[in-house]
């Protein structure tokens, strides 16, 4: 299983990637939608965990682009806001919508659920 983490908070995604790696999950990270697009070349990620609100390409925009490019990819949204509009948009377009801060065990459970494990 290979995961892509995308959030403009670099310390968040690097720590999260390391913690997933300690749990046996291969995770790469990017700090922008544009950087994520460069990583997603061969469509070898099973799940992308995306921050909803990022400078430049937002999580919602990135999700639309990535799902067009890699139809089998699953998505989990992360948000700090938890506003009603974010929740509706995120819930409609992803397997799961989590509010920061997130428990790594919850995230892992949602990742496994998304890939049908």
């Amino acid at each position: 299983m290979k995961i892509l983490l995308v959030d403009d908070e670099m310390e968040l995604v690097t720590a999260m990637a390391e913690r997933l790696s300690l749990r046996g999950v291969d995770a790469d990270w990017a700090v922008s939608g544009e950087q994520a697009m460069e990583l997603v070349d061969g469509c070898d990620y099973d799940v992308a965990v995306l921050d909803v609100k990022m400078p430049g390409l937002s999580g919602l925009d990135l999700r639309r682009t990535l799902s067009g490019k890699c139809p089998g990819m699953k998505f989990i949204f992360l948000s700090g806001h938890g506003s009603e509009s974010d929740f509706k948009a995120g819930s409609a377009e992803a397997e799961c919508y989590l509010i920061k801060p997130v428990s790594i065990e919850d995230l892992l459970a949602k990742i496994r659920e998304a890939v049908g494990e």
């Binding site: 400078p55 430049g56 806001h81």
Partner: protein, 212 residues
Amino acid sequence: MNDFRSREDLQFFGRICASVSHDLKNVLAVVNEGAGLLSDLSLMAEKGMPLDPAKLRSVAGSIQAQIRRGDEIIKGLNTFAHSVDEPVSSVNLAEVVSLVVSLAARLARARNVSLEVGACDEVFVRIDVYALEYLLHGMVTHALAHAEDGGVLTFSCSSPGGGSMATLTGAGLGTGAELPGELTALAGEQDVVLAADAGTKTLELVIGKEMK
């Protein structure tokens, strides 16, 4: 003040609080992952994995940096919250400009624009501080709508000819749509002048001077 203006005021307060809460959520999320990583590393050490002291210091340093970041965010929110305490008071324009820049930083980042404080003379103005913050933040919002992707907006303040002035400079400014009506109306109520100058690519807020 009519009900509509009251609601606009409240919406502005709400927007600032929502933005600050988002920033604080991010701070908490980074602290959560840092603390979680330390916990993970200690669990791995119990299972025989060697601990790297430099790694531990780095993660602890990251947590401390986030706590400082959160503290600055909360200080800004506290200052903003107290700006409605008095109907009119004497404030240092440079400090208010700096506060508004920090409160609007997330908004600017979301548009991929850098918002900076430039040269600011220490000049005291007597004004409704909340209205001043509303106007300065409105200038930023208006500027962001017309700023170039990757551009820079710089807020500076000065005291030309006995008055005081906050100036927002950046490519694209002064050439876009007219200033929003609620901003120019509020400026009129506060006896200040808000103007856009396409030639110098600036938005200017001119306020009467108050001696310290």
